[in-house]
């Protein structure tokens, strides 16, 4: 039972991560391979500040978001004006650089040894210690995240993002500062990913650099595609399906060395299949028209 609650928390965390990437990829058409890097920034900020400096969880969230925001601004400003493929390659390079920093800046991150004993958040003297409470907390965060993403998608700002996804040149031709929009949504996506990372750190209570690799970025990308590019509820569904699956396999006594690759093969194959047969994903995007008679 406790295990099930743990899985729910994990789904909530990955739901947030998937939604964050969906904002960039699904709404705006920015394919980024750097999401795991921002997740890692949030996770390490939380881990370091919580274990070494006794920060309050919410402050660490803000710090993580601030760092992610700053870093993502730099990356976006520098690379988003480039043609599609070159931007992806830059995000690829960036992801590797950040991973290397996590791995090698041992003074800060303890490198491959990782950081242990990360405590859960506390608010107003109420601790979220314990799986049920933490599950409640993460699900609450997910709900907030969904609300933000929904609002964003249905706002005039969100319409401009869709326009940019459809045809950047056309969006520029009607006076939209395309770079600015892309940079701003990219920052939002990065900050949201850092929140997911912080929640992840508190949930698993141990982090090391090996979680925040390009493989993780690709995994989150797969969740976006399978769940439905442009539909944030789909992101949650996608996360639910693909996270619960290996856990179910584990239930059936399949060893991890086999269960893990099987889960990966499954999501890789699903990604290919969905792109071919059902590019809209599990839940297609629905854009409401703003018509007012």
């Amino acid at each position: 039972m406790i295990y099930l609650i743990y899985v729910i928390s994990l789904i909530a965390v990955y739901g947030i991560l998937t939604i964050s990437l969906n904002l960039a990829v699904g709404y705006t058409g920015i394919l980024s391979l750097a999401q795991a890097a921002f997740m890692g920034i949030g996770a390490y900020s939380a881990a370091i500040l919580l274990t070494q400096y006794g920060f309050n969880f919410f402050s660490t969230l803000l710090v993580g978001m601030a760092i992610a925001g700053l870093v993502s601004w730099g990356l976006a400003w520098a690379t988003l004006r480039l043609k599609g493929d070159y931007y992806v390659i830059a995000s690829f390079g960036f992801q590797i650089i950040i991973y290397n920093i996590f791995l090698n800046w041992i003074d800060l991150t303890r490198g491959p040894f990782g950081i242990r004993h990360i405590p859960p958040p506390q608010a107003f003297g109420f601790s979220f210690l314990g799986p049920q409470r933490y599950a409640l907390f993460t699900v609450a965060c997910l709900v907030v995240c969904l609300w933000v993403a929904r609002r964003l998608g249905e706002s005039p700002y969100g319409k401009v993002l869709r326009a940019i996804r459809e045809d950047e040149a056309a969006a520029a031709s009607i006076g939209k500062n395309v770079s600015q929009y892309k940079i701003s949504i990219f920052m939002v996506a990065a900050m949201l990913a850092s929140v997911g990372g912080a929640l992840y750190a508190s949930l698993i209570t141990y982090i090391d650099p090996f979680t925040f690799t390009i493989h993780e970025s690709i995994f989150i990308l797969a969740l976006v595609i399978i769940g439905g590019s442009g539909n944030v509820y789909g992101s949650v569904v996608g996360a639910a399906v693909l996270i619960s699956l290996p856990e179910m396999l584990r239930f059936l006594d399949v060893p991890t060395t086999v269960a893990s690759p099987i889960r990966e093969i499954l999501y890789g194959a699903l990604m290919i299949i969905f792109l071919r047969l059902r590019p809209k994903g599990l839940l297609p995007e629905r854009i409401t028209s703003g018509v007012r008679r």
Binding site: R162, D167, A170, E285
Partner: protein, 255 residues
Amino acid sequence: MNRDNNYFRVEGLSKAFGGLQAVENATFQVEKGKLTSLIGPNGAGKTTMFDLISGFLAADEGRILFKSQELVQRKPHEIVSLGMARTFQHLGLFNQLSVWDNIFLALPGKRRECLWGVFLPRWFLRHEERILEERTREILSFLGLGEKAGERVANLSWGDQKLVSIGRLLATDGEFLLLDEPASGLSDEQIEHLKSLLRGLVSKGKTILLIDHNMEAVMDISDWVIVLNFGKIIAEGKPGEILANEEVVRIYLGV
């Protein structure tokens, strides 16, 4: 015709791609409140010229002056804010969005349209919204698209899509409009409709520069015609003069 105006001028404009000189030392003017056409055989550099003027390509050499402002180093959205707007040959409409959205998006001055606007309550800036909605309805009815406002653009016919692209152009409130092949793919009846629409815009004070291959339509509605061949301007003048120009005729008939 006052040929020494300061409304819009291109001077010594050049652009090369690798070894190919797409536009070579082009110099011309567009007079305010008139309809000027840019014609020439395929590959003559017309769309490149448009891309240079509207900021989608950076010129190698030369100047572009619009209301005494230099356009060459500017980004497309900046140029739009100066009062120039363009269409694309491929239309570039936002296919997954509705007709209404396509036009509404092009309206300038929407303070709600930024990231912070996402979290504003709906009643904030409602007054501004109402004005914009009214304007959208105006444009839709002007073009006869009122019934189709909620339709996704991808589901419309080419002719209707063309109308939406013009609607989007009008919504920008630009005073200098660049139209890239507006008549392509239209029936004769639709072209007549288009011709009167464009002349109507000019009579309301808009300045138009257009590219098209439909020679009859071009000569019918233009006040001034500029002929381009292999990136160079080889002739310009009133439609009658151009039709009588031997070199132009030769180029078009491929003799």
